[in-house]
């Protein structure tokens, strides 16, 4: 995995729990790591963490949610992500989703909400993309 690979303690998600942490893997890049299952009980935790992510300054900072540790995503979790995508849009930025397994991508596809995000396989792709956008030198 990337330089931001999970420590060994981040094993397979256990039922019902959710951990989040806000990281800054590169200057101007804010990534919310999410690990666990996002359902009706834990969606508020994700909502709060997304609020923290979207408070990231400066306004042109890149914001992303790394969902590679998410083993389940219910409609309540989808709703929270969709709300965050709209908030990001009103800030003039795009919410990137990284590394979702089928448990994440399937709900996004089935509901058509994948259109609201930029989906990338992993952080490396996001960083490469940002590097590509920056003028050389």
């Amino acid at each position: 995995m990337s330089a931001l690979s999970f420590p060994a303690s981040r094993g397979p998600s256990r039922p019902g729990g959710l951990d989040t942490s806000l990281t800054r893997p590169a200057p101007g890049v804010h990534v919310l790591l999410v690990d666990g299952e996002v359902d009706t009980l834990t969606a508020p935790i994700l909502g709060e963490a997304l609020g923290g992510l979207l408070a990231a300054e400066p306004a042109d900072a890149v914001v992303a949610v790394d969902l590679s540790g998410v083993g389940f995503l219910a409609s309540s979790g989808l709703a929270v992500l969709i709300r965050a995508a709209h908030t990001a849009g009103s800030q003039g930025r795009v919410l990137h989703l990284l590394g979702g397994s089928r448990a994440v991508t399937r709900p996004l596809e089935v509901t058509g909400s994948d259109q609201l995000f930029t989906l990338l396989p992993a952080l490396d792709e996001l960083l490469a993309r940002i590097d590509g956008d920056r003028p050389a030198g």
Partner: protein, 161 residues
């Protein structure tokens, strides 16, 4: 009351032949329809126990050779149905979830007792729309008798979206 612990029960058994084919019961092998497996899970009607129920749904679908999208859809549909019901369940009551595993199909029936016979379950929600998209068929059973149920089924091969 304190926090409820997992107080669920799981029963599994073969469907009785008489339920499947009352006419053919007693005939030799080959004349009776392939019996389905029935799994019933009963838990306290608490959101904290829904992960257990959706894990059972996922496991049954995987064992029934559902494709990966269909497993994912069923798990999410069952979660959605249970979350909807737990929301209107009477305090201290239980959530009863029955899985009827057939060839190429799983039928799910989930049910709770409601505190108020008139407790409405809103189908005008994002969650209900998602449920309708995920399941091949879904039906709300609310007859004002003090129980509310959701019946759904999912085929083994998910339709491409």
């Amino acid at each position: 009351m304190g926090i409820e612990g997992p107080s669920g029960s799981v029963t599994k058994g073969r469907r009785r032949v008489s339920e499947v084919d009352p006419v053919g019961a007693g005939d030799g092998p080959g004349t009776v329809e392939t019996p389905g497996s029935v799994v019933e899970v009963r838990t306290s009607a608490s959101a904290s126990l829904i992960p257990t129920i959706r894990a059972v749904a996922s496991d049954l679908a995987a064992r029934a050779d559902f494709d990966l999208d269909a497993i994912s859809d069923l798990r999410m549909a069952v979660d959605e149905a249970c979350a909807t019901l737990v929301d209107v369940a009477a305090p201290g009551s239980s959530l009863r979830c029955t899985f009827d595993v057939r060839e190429e199909l799983i039928r799910v029936h989930a049910e709770v007792d409601t505190a108020d016979a008139a407790t409405p379950v809103s189908t005008d929600t994002f969650g209900w729309r998602v449920l309708q998209t995920l399941a091949d068929e879904v039906e709300l059973e609310a007859n004002g008798s003090g129980t509310v149920g959701i019946r759904l089924h999912k085929r083994a091969d998910a339709a491409p979206r």
